[in-house]
């Protein structure tokens, strides 16, 4: 009786979010999935006929008559994965020591620092990326400082290169890496670190065998949260990337907006999702194994 009432209340509480996600998340996803197997309409939109060439164009079974196989799509996908992985690695390296430092600050300073980390969210992403554009361009801040210092003879070409894209994504993603990482570093059991040192492990051994496994949930959490939006990111490459920095997100955007080939854009989206899900499953499996049953 009591159990029944509990489940009714629970159902009532869960209904709004279920409805919301169902209408605005699952349904569009299904539409994309279906569209990716439909024929592109002549002037945009779709024709309701099965069509596998969308995937054929990407993976190479296009016949060369109706659709052309373009290896560039796989290359761009691979590039997106590489950029996202680089972003994860760089943000991790930057944030890990800082997380330790912040977790040892007195309360007052720690809160101030955590506020500073979230400060970028108070302004528009586009505006912040254009600021980077001003910094990185040949006559921008970065180059003029290096020129003034005499470190370089002529301006470095950073803008519209892969470096600029990764740099921009690292900048955007730092808070997303930092916060989960900080949470797990802050939870690190100092006594276990001491136990390791006490048992004769030097600082490097202690870091590898105790600190990293103990903070692995934060590392994996941060990596997933940074990796997923990075793979599909199109704003950063759009502003800072140029042709060589083009990512799969830009491709999708192009298909839907300028090329008006919705089925092909849908197919690309499905591939991004498949990659992201795979990464997520690996991370979850790894985290399960790491934490054991403790």
């Amino acid at each position: 009786m009591a159990l029944r009432r509990q489940s009714v209340i629970l159902g009532a509480l869960l209904a709004p979010v279920t409805l919301f996600l169902g209408v605005f998340f699952v349904l569009p996803l299904l539409i994309i999935a279906v569209f990716s197997f439909l024929t592109p309409g002549l002037y945009g939109g779709v024709e309701w006929a099965f069509y596998h060439w969308n995937y054929g164009r990407i993976f190479g079974w296009a016949d060369g008559i109706i659709e052309l196989y373009e290896p560039i799509y796989l290359r761009i996908l691979l590039r997106s994965l590489t950029f996202a992985a680089l972003t994860v690695i760089v943000t991790l390296i930057l944030c890990y020591p800082v997380a330790f430092w912040v977790s040892r600050l007195p309360d007052r300073w720690r809160l101030a620092f955590l506020f500073l980390i979230t400060l970028p969210f108070f302004s528009s992403l586009i505006v912040r990326l254009y600021a980077w554009l001003l910094i990185l361009k040949p006559t921008g801040l970065f180059n003029s400082v290096l020129l003034k210092l005499g470190l370089i003879g002529q301006p470095l070409e950073i803008l519209y290169t892969p470096t600029a894209v990764v740099l921009g994504m690292v900048y955007v993603m730092i808070p997303f890496m930092f916060l989960p990482l900080y949470a797990s570093v802050d939870n690190l059991d100092r006594a276990q670190v001491e136990a390791s040192l006490d048992l004769g492990a030097n600082r490097v051994q202690t870091f590898v065998k105790v600190v990293v496994p103990q903070t692995l949930p934060g590392i994996l959490g941060g990596a997933v949260i940074v990796f997923i939006p990075s793979v599909g990111n199109f704003i950063v490459p759009d502003v800072l990337g140029g042709a060589k920095g083009l990512m799969v997100g830009n491709l999708v955007e192009q298909q839907f907006l300028s090329s008006r080939n919705w089925p092909f854009g849908s197919a690309l989206s499905m591939i991004i999702m498949a990659v992201v899900l795979t990464v997520l499953l690996i991370a979850v499996a790894r985290a399960r194994k790491g934490s054991g049953n403790a």
């Binding site: 059991d189 006594a191 276990q192 001491e194 136990a195 390791s196 040192l197 006490d198 048992l199 004769g200 492990a201 030097n202 600082r203 051994q205 202690t206 065998k209 105790v210 496994p213 103990q214 692995l216 790491g290 934490s291 054991g292 049953n293 403790a294």
Partner: protein, 355 residues
């Protein structure tokens, strides 16, 4: 033979957030022999944990030296000291199995896997956890975790094992069982133990010697019997077990007995020992030193607590002064409000000079 551990003039100050200074170790000297079980006992903040951490290397001394087997440890990092610790929180590695926890010291020292596994199995057997190696610490009970922490700390055969209040998280029965096991384990291993606790009963049960500490200094070092029967000062007397302290003045000396009185008039008898009339002393009597008799200190039972075999009484003396705490074996017919006389054997009184 030189002692295993020699601590000389160990000093450590901590800065307080208010800008003051707290002296955690105030020139501590301590020797510990090989195969000795020494307990550091004192209230929180007395410096016992700081002293332990100075030996393990997690606190550096401001001045003074710590030598182990003739080698100066001062300045060595924890991982270079042949000393292992059982931590209060156990600090087991949650992401490793019990076996890997226990074998950790060997693993980081580069001992080959086969030998490591054999030693882990043997050590687990020693602490009564045979066959538990594959579990994770999270799947163990508190008592079992305690044993894993112990096994992990002894596997590398340190010359000195430090134990930081390791039994404080266990329930009473388990704690008493572990006290006995720890003591016998220490005998079998032939390792010196330094055991930190604030529980005086624990200290009395296990130690070869007890070091009573207060405010960064050592108050007294001695065997449990010494500390209990012959405390050097009021602090030690009051900290170790329940105590009745009487500030008395010698009234007169009759034969082998000195008759003394507190300001309120409670009469305490001591061995004469050449005492002079008018001398001021502190007389210490344990609750069990009193008996209910036909004469002695007259008073009324204010509170009676039944402890099973014993009856614990608080007796208010008729002439005034603080209640006297008494434990009697056969308390039949005694209850709150009972009027009785308390007598004691003068030889049982421990005397501190001065009031």
């Amino acid at each position: 033979m030189a002692p295993l551990l020699e601590i000389r003039a160990a000093r450590r100050d901590f800065a307080t957030p208010e800008g003051g200074k707290i002296c955690a170790l105030d020139g501590v000297d301590l020797d510990v022999d090989a195969n000795e079980f020494v307990t550091l006992l004192g209230p929180s903040g007395c410096g016992k944990t700081t002293l332990l951490r100075a030996i393990s290397g997690f606190e550096m001394l401001d001045s003074g030296t710590i030598r182990l087997g003739g080698t100066d440890l001062t300045g060595l990092p924890p991982f270079r000291r042949p000393v292992n610790t059982v931590f209060q929180s156990y600090a087991l590695f949650g992401h490793m199995t019990v076996a890997r926890n226990v074998g950790y010291a060997l693993e980081v020292a580069g001992v080959a896997k086969a030998q490591r596994e054999a030693e882990v199995a043997e050590t687990l057997e020693k602490v009564g956890l045979g066959g538990m190696g594959a579990r994770k610490p999270g799947q163990l009970s508190g008592g079992q975790r305690q044993r894993v922490a112990l096994a992990r700390a002894i596997i590398a055969k340190p010359r000195l094992l430090l134990l930081d209040e390791p039994l404080s998280a266990l329930d009473r029965n388990l704690r008493q069982q572990m006290q006995i096991e720890l003591k016998s384990l220490q005998h079998r291993l032939g390792i010196a133990f330094i055991f930190v606790t604030h529980d005086q009963e624990e200290a009395l049960t296990m130690s070869d010697r007890i070091v009573v500490m207060r405010a960064g200094g050592i108050q007294q070092i001695g065997t449990p019997r010494d500390i209990y029967r012959h405390p050097r000062n009021r602090f030690v007397a009051e900290f170790i077990g329940e105590t009745n302290l009487f500030s008395v003045t010698v009234d007169r000396v009759e034969g082998g007995t000195a008759l003394t009185r507190t300001a309120e008039g409670v009469q305490v008898l001591l061995p004469a020992d050449g005492r002079k009339t008018g001398e001021r002393l502190t007389a210490i009597l344990r609750p069990a030193d009193f008996t209910i008799a036909a004469q002695g200190i007259l008073g009324t039972v204010a509170r009676a607590v039944y402890l099973g075999p014993d009856l614990h009484l608080s007796v208010t003396p008729d002439c005034g002064g603080p209640d006297i705490s008494v434990i009697v074996r056969d308390g039949l017919g005694v209850g709150e409000g009972t009027r009785l006389h308390l007598a004691h054997d003068p030889a049982r009184v421990h005397v501190l000079e001065g009031g």
